[in-house]
Subunit: 206 residues, 2 copies
């Protein structure tokens, strides 16, 4: 599998395919086609076939894709045939929503600890967790070998906390703070900022 040579834009579509296939499977469906998948996702069937062909031969001309098999293969490719431990930093409103969300574990991720720097929050319950002091975070990450973090802190705090995460051994950061953070080249960052999405839409509105 020539993973290093696959464009990141293709990698970015694989989770969409996996999500759609998992939903089809949950609805009892066993076979699908690139056409059906494409209509569901608003992606051309040719694009889907081309993307998947970068990783192997998953379907036969005319018989479509076996959903269970393709789902297993995509899970393996995206490394979610295991469950990744995730630390959550920030126990504000968004942190609460994330800590309560039950939809991560089936898809490869499990929040294992929640950290904050606010003395008023430390020790309080948040979902199934107790909010822990952020000063204890580096040791926790190192001891447990956690590689993934979610950052739900205010913009002004993001970079400093990100530096601590990287220093502690985190390799992938999902940043909910509405700002761009600087990381070394071998660290992966993805961002979620709802306003960016809304601006991208209102641009087109009259």
């Amino acid at each position: 599998m020539p993973a290093a040579s696959v464009p990141d834009i293709v990698v970015g579509r694989l989770p969409l395919y996996l999500r759609a296939l998992s939903q089809m499977a949950a609805n009892g469906k066993e076979i699908t086609s690139s056409q059906e998948l494409g209509e569901r996702l608003g992606i051309s069937s040719a694009q889907i076939r081309k993307d998947l062909s970068q990783f192997g031969e998953f379907g036969k001309q005319g018989t479509g894709y076996n959903i269970g098999y393709l789902t297993d293969q995509l899970r393996r490719i995206l490394k979610v045939d295991r469950v990744w431990d995730v630390v959550l930093v920030g126990a504000g409103d968004l942190g609460h929503a994330i800590a309560h969300y039950a939809g991560f574990v089936d898809r490869g991720y499990r929040v294992v600890a929640v950290f904050d720097n606010d003395p008023a929050k430390i020790g309080m319950a948040i979902g199934a967790f107790t909010i822990e002091d952020i000063v204890r975070m580096p040791q926790y990450i190192r001891a447990r070998g956690v590689a993934v973090a979610m950052l739900a802190v205010p913009q002004g705090a993001a970079q400093a906390i990100c530096d601590v995460l990287v220093e502690s051994g985190i390799k992938a950061i999902l940043c909910y703070a509405p700002t761009s953070i600087q990381v070394p080249k071998d660290i992966y960052v993805q961002y979620i900022d709802p306003v960016l999405h809304m601006q991208r839409m209102t641009y087109y509105l009259p």
Copy 2:
């Protein structure tokens, strides 16, 4: 301004530029360059100059960009020189976080109402709002001429609610439900699903 001819991928970067420039302005900075902006965002300076040049001449060779001016122009281009009313559908944990979030209005959006279909929630307070019955949503959207909606409902409910939103006159939907929804061609949808981002990163991890 040949708006129709600008690729959506370029449109998608403009909100990033606006966010970075607004943060620079908040820090008292008045002038920047495509180099500086690029380093901050991890985008090449050539790309930034090319993107901005699609909309006009915003800086002079050698003198850089006036941050205040460019910010104003980007706000105008992205139509956030006004404030858009937004209806929020779903008063669960995520809905609460969204309803409490104070970071929308400075960037062009204002939640004006929160709807849910759960009798146990209707009438309860959520941030500054009272949760309203979703059956009253179409009339509210029409009467107020709301164009933008945020959808924070479970996956299984997303499509049906989306259909109601579109029927009521909504033109842009930010969907937090982890699923793909079908809309007519003249409706804009953007998605937020944290798992897609995490899978895109763990793909690269050992």
